[in-house]
């Protein structure tokens, strides 16, 4: 089979361009997507509408009445060249108060059993993680996060739970999420934050951006519920590498 030459740039549908980088889920490859997004957004291209990033690809939408396919393709090429030499905008850290275990985190024991550690250890490890946001997707600005360490990685449930409450924090394999709204899901849910990570009464409905980090740190239920009254921007802290 012939080896694809990445990035792959294609016109798709009537009014979009898909850029695909190497087919892998890694922070490095998704960084290329984020840098290209940043380069496009700062370019101020007349006719550019928006772009939706995912793990390894960027879907770019434009107004065909304002810019031709060829002109948009060359804008994308030049943004790509710029993105290769630019630094990615610094991510922020969202530290979200989270209540672990019990009804809010029904899978703590399952993860403990699968990982061969105690439930307390599962909570302690989870509480300290700073998980990178790869992109927002699925429904209602759902953050796709990665960075679950080997010792906590557990398979998803064989059949998904029919309804997991919004704000639930869980993981399956290396991937993690905080559910934006009540949804069916097969991930292992260990805790819940009451901070509204998706709030349709505000614009934009979420403060997460691709490249941000999220820490779901353990607090008691009262503190977690109380925190839910504040906007998610209140929980941004400087990101230190330590």
């Amino acid at each position: 089979m012939k080896k694809a030459n990445y990035p792959l740039i294609r016109l798709l549908g009537e009014d979009s361009i898909l850029v695909e980088f190497e087919a892998e889920v890694s922070w490095e490859i998704s960084g290329k997507v984020r840098r290209l997004l940043h380069a496009l957004e700062t370019k101020g291209i007349d006719g550019y509408r928006m772009a939706l990033p995912s793990y390894r690809s960027l879907m770019i939408y434009y107004d065909t009445c304002k810019i031709s396919d060829d002109s948009m393709l060359s804008e994308v090429m030049s943004a790509l060249a710029e993105s290769e030499v630019m630094d990615e905008p610094e991510g922020r850290l969202f530290r979200l108060p989270t209540v672990y275990g019990g009804e809010h985190g029904p899978d703590v024991d399952r993860v403990a059993e699968l990982s061969g550690i105690t439930a307390e250890k599962v909570i302690e490890l989870s509480s300290n993680l700073k998980l990178p946001v790869y992109f927002l997707g699925y429904i209602c600005s759902q953050a796709y996060m990665g960075g679950i360490p080997k010792e906590l990685q557990s398979p998803r449930h064989q059949s998904p739970r029919p309804l997991v409450p919004g704000g639930s924090f869980g993981f399956g394999g290396p991937q993690a999420n905080i559910l934006a709204v009540d949804s069916p899901s097969g991930l292992n849910y260990v805790g819940r934050t009451f901070v509204k990570v998706f709030n349709p009464d505000r614009f934009p409905p979420t403060a997460f951006l691709p490249g941000d980090f999220v820490q779901c740190y353990a607090v008691d239920e009262t503190t977690a519920v109380e925190a839910g009254k504040r906007p998610m921007e209140d929980f941004i802290e400087p990101l230190c590498d330590s």
């Binding site: 549908g13 009537e14 928006m50 939706l52 879907m59 997707g137 429904i139 209602c140 709204v181 349709p200």
Partner: protein
């Protein structure tokens, strides 16, 4: 102001408009009416902005009682519109008196009918649109006993008189025949399917499955052979994307579809056929046909011209 009571919400009735397409940037589904041409046309008939909110009712059962005198127009699917038990015309501005009962009694053609009112419905405005998006808990389905009303409190009488009885010329009524193939462009993962598989996709009849909804229009028919597994690294799922999960059967992603997903997409439905697909119902038999990108753009322009024509015809 026009007011109505929901006597029976039918299978599913929600407020919809042209959706929140620009919210895609924040990974939120566009939502909006499944057949937006129909929404634009009935709003034009009523002298409303094209983006005014309407009722979208699915298949059967909706019954409203007017709580005030007013004007409405109904378009989209022919679901057997009656007023006080007597058949009433679609695509026409109808004068309604307090106490009138507006009902849909029979599925004749299409899946979703739209009820517009002068001024548009007063539905909650969420992130730039009044469209309900039930999966995302934005807005809600209408229930028995709900009271709904229009936004405009004092439409000018001259305008009401000019619009009363107005009818859409038949040449402007959208063609919702499902006999014509649904035209598609290549999808981002066409290389996941074998040549035979692609041939099966564009030469077979597919029957619309009853489990279809505003998110995905599911089909039954011959399975599409693949050369790679069904799962891909999660990537954007554009509206109109046709994904093929493990079953090998195509699903057309529509207005409420998730914005990213993990199944290979064989094709993208042309924009000109999106609204027609919004009228697909259980049992409809359809075919897919690949066309060129320039043909797809030409269809888009043709559709825009039709709409421009309707604007001129119905102005004033």
């Amino acid at each position: 102001m026009n007011r109505f009571a929901i006597v029976n919400p039918g299978l599913l009735t929600t407020f919809q408009d042209l959706g929140r397409a620009e919210m895609l940037k924040y990974a939120l589904s566009a939502s909006g009416a499944m057949d937006q041409t129909a929404v634009r046309l009935i709003n034009l008939l009523l002298g409303n902005p094209e983006s005014a909110a309407v009722l979208e009712t699915t298949m059967m059962g909706l019954k409203l009682r007017a709580l005030s005198d007013g004007q409405i127009a109904v378009g989209g699917a022919d679901l057997g519109l009656t007023i006080n038990g007597r058949p009433a015309p679609m695509w026409t501005v109808l004068i309604i008196n307090e106490g009138d009962v507006i009902a849909f009694s029979e599925m004749r053609c299409g899946m979703r009918a739209y009820v517009g009112v002068v001024g548009g419905f007063d539905a909650p405005l969420i992130l730039g649109s009044r469209s309900a998006y039930l999966r995302g808990s934005l807005g809600s389905a209408l229930k028995r006993g709900d009271e709904i009303r229009s936004l405009d409190c004092s439409p000018d009488r001259g305008k009401l008189r000019r619009h009363a009885g107005k009818t859409l010329p038949s040449r402007l009524i959208p063609d919702r025949s499902m006999k014509r193939a649904f035209r598609v462009l290549p999808g981002p993962q066409m290389d996941y399917f074998s040549e035979d598989g692609i041939q099966v996709f564009c030469s077979s009849f597919y029957t619309i499955s009853p489990i279809s909804d505003r998110q995905g229009i599911r089909t039954d028919g011959p399975s599409i052979e693949r050369v790679k597994g069904p799962d891909i690294i999660t990537d954007p799922t554009p509206m109109g994307g046709i994904q093929v999960p493990g079953s090998g059967l195509p699903i057309i992603l529509h207005r409420d579809a998730q914005v990213t997903g993990g199944y290979a997409k064989i094709a993208l439905l042309c924009k000109a056929d999106i609204d027609r697909a919004g009228q697909l119902g259980p049992g409809d038999r359809i075919r897919f046909e690949f066309i060129t990108r320039s043909a797809a753009k030409a269809l888009m322009i043709k559709q825009k011209k039709m709409l421009e024509n309707a604007r001129k015809t119905l102005a004033g």
